[in-house]
């Protein structure tokens, strides 16, 4: 008997009933409608509750329908998929709404005037003025912090991966872990205590030092992971050519991982660019333009946002400036990220023919 004849007599065990392709969309639509109806009938005020009800209906509805039509295993598969989607939506909603609110409120006063003028003698409750002093302050403080933090961080990671054996390496790893957990205000207080010892007034570079402390562990961690990804074979190939170890690291290991290291440094920069607490303690804030980070109080974008929001007694002009500065800060970090990705792509090992 041929196999075709067998297949004709018995139904294939490989086929089963399955829901049509559009069913997930139908279930999503149905649960949203049901959620709204339940919300209206039950007189629930909060739209968040409506959404949660719709989400739960979606997950359970998917399971119920799929279990009846397709069977239990497929139903579990669909539930897993639906949970992933619900989690995705729950995660994206705050992000999108944050960006939406910041952009819609920020663009009101965000113009070349805002970016090129500082507050000066403009009162906090009045319209006008801008964030120029804060942008300059942010750029200088973050730039100096990067100049200090990134090299130390990268060199520490090189030590840990390429040379570190035994107790010292373990101790360094431990303290890097501890540093990762330092709250930013504590880093600020640490530098402040030094400033008080030497009887100094607030200045930009003090903020840079605190930011560098916060930046270092992040750079060490990410660089360490990137260096570990470099195949040992490349190191051995270079050593076997009679290249000294330090040159192997400089010319083979670091170039191979430069893309990832750059991304790590940029993420660390993004982290410290938004720090307010140490800047508040050490840089103090300044409505006037101060281009010198080594003398006199400066401003910075996060600090500017905080001060506009807190010190202006509810004046709309100040709120607008705070939102515009927020948008500037997000754009600043975003541009850095894009630059980092560009560098990573440009420098990444090429595989083309």
């Amino acid at each position: 008997m041929s196999t075709a004849a067998v297949a004709d007599k018995r139904p294939s065990t490989l086929q089963g009933a399955s829901l049509p392709k559009w069913s997930p969309y139908a279930i999503v639509g149905g649960s949203i409608v049901l959620g709204v109806v339940i919300g209206l009938v039950g007189g629930l005020d909060s739209k968040i509750q409506w959404g949660l009800i719709a989400g739960l209906l979606y997950v359970f509805g998917t399971y119920g329908i799929a279990a009846r039509v397709e069977g239990k295993r497929q139903a579990k598969d669909r539930v897993a998929t639906s949970l992933v989607w619900v989690a995705f939506v729950v995660a994206v909603i705050p992000l999108v709404s944050l960006i939406w609110v910041t952009i819609s409120r920020g663009v009101k006063v965000l113009d070349p005037y805002f970016l090129s003028h500082s507050m000066g003698v403009v009162a906090d409750s009045e319209a006008g003025g801008g964030a120029y002093a804060a942008i300059i302050g942010s750029l200088e403080q973050v730039g100096l912090a990067t100049l200090i933090g990134a090299p130390i961080g990268i060199l520490t990671a090189v030590y840990l991966v390429e040379y570190g054996r035994g107790r010292l390496a373990k101790a360094v790893t431990f303290f890097v872990d501890v540093m990762t957990g330092i709250p930013s205000i504590v880093a600020g207080l640490f530098i402040l205590s030094l400033m008080l010892i030497f009887d100094m007034q607030p200045f930009g570079f003090a903020g840079s030092l605190a930011l560098a402390i916060l930046m270092m562990p992040v750079v060490v961690r990410s660089t360490e992971e990137m260096l570990k990804l470099v195949p040992n074979e490349l190191r051995e190939a270079s050593l076997a050519l009679g290249v000294p170890k330090w040159r192997t690291i400089l010319k083979v290991v670091l170039p191979t991982s430069i893309g990832g290291i750059t991304t790590g440094v940029m993420l660390a920069i993004a982290r410290i660019a938004g720090e307010t607490a140490p800047v508040l303690l050490l840089v103090f804030g300044n409505p006037f333009i101060n281009n010198n980070p080594f003398e006199g109080a400066q401003s910075s974008l996060p600090l500017f946002i905080y001060q506009q929001y807190a010190n202006s007694a509810g004046a709309n002009a100040a709120y607008d400036r705070a939102w515009a500065a927020s948008l500037t800060l997000i754009a600043f970090v975003m541009i850095l990220n894009l630059v980092a990705r560009g560098i990573a792509r440009w420098k990444a090992p090429k595989t083309g023919r």
């Binding site: 190191r235 051995e236 190939a237 270079s238 050519l241 290249v243 000294p244 090429k350």
Partner: protein, 258 residues
């Protein structure tokens, strides 16, 4: 110009684990010596002790003597970096530098050591690529990345990179195990040509390969898993494959053993 190697009483450790025990052998200049033996018997470890690559592994430690033309490589004042310039190495998996072009890969040994003249570089790269039988395939794309080549081409690129620094001895650690038969043949032909200029030591799992390319063959074995590997015998390849003096060698070669 190739050099001879005399090993006496060489023992190598990984931490406290003894990997190879008390190995002595002579390797003549301008010959191909093949190491055969079961996995884990210390062939590769022994090979790596010959250019002091063993100590790169954490915990790696060596006792005994390796004489390169009467100079002990493990003497106190010897610089391992200088040793590796004299004794080049080709690895099991092709490992061209991914950030570098084909040209830069071949020139890597010279460039990274910083001792080269720009005018000479082009000449040396061409000579090395020709020496590795790769020139005709890559001469039009020297500026393309080396990782874009096929596996066999990459391995020949690695051989070109190794011979560009003009070593005296070339160590090959299973150079063909990741390659197809055609690429393997290309590399075996190459080994035949290279032995005019270098002393070659090759580790292989392929006994036909050992029989085809080598003048002398060394058989390694280990008493049991966890025991250190030992040199059972070393002799002319013809003799090893026709009439070995130790029974274990014959068992291994004829397939009656592990």
């Amino acid at each position: 110009m190739s050099k001879r190697i005399d090993v006496s009483g060489l023992t190598a450790y990984y931490g406290s684990h003894k990997a190879i025990d008390d190995i002595s052998m002579n390797i003549e200049p301008r010959t191909v010596t093949a190491f055969i033996g079961p996995s884990g018997c210390g062939k590769s470890t022994f090979l790596r002790t010959l250019n002091r690559m063993h100590e790169v592994t954490p915990g790696g430690r060596v006792e005994g003597k390796v004489l390169l033309d009467d100079e002990n490589l493990y003497a106190a004042n010897i610089d391992p970096v200088a040793v590796r310039r004299e004794i080049g190495m080709v690895f099991q998996r092709p490992n061209p530098f991914p950030t570098m072009s084909i040209f830069d890969n071949v020139a890597a040994g010279l460039k990274l050591n910083g001792s080269y003249k720009k005018s000479e570089l082009t000449e040396i790269v061409e000579k090395s690529l020709k020496g590795a039988n790769l020139w005709n395939e890559v001469k039009d794309r020297l500026n393309k990345p080396g990782s874009g080549l096929s596996g066999g081409q990459q391995q020949r690129l690695c051989i070109a990179r190794a011979i560009a620094v003009e070593p005296k001895v070339l160590l090959m650690d299973e150079p063909c195990s990741a390659l197809d038969p055609i690429s393997t043949l290309a590399i075996e032909d190459l080994i035949g040509e290279l032995k005019e200029r270098f002393t070659i030591v090759i580790v292989t799992h392929n006994m036909q390969q050992a029989a085809r390319v080598s003048d002398r063959t060394a058989f390694f074995n280990l008493a049991a898993v966890g025991q250190p590997g030992k040199l059972i015998e070393i002799d002319d390849t013809e003799r090893i494959f026709s009439n070995p003096s130790v029974q274990a060698t014959e068992d291994y070669i004829s397939g009656r053993f592990g």
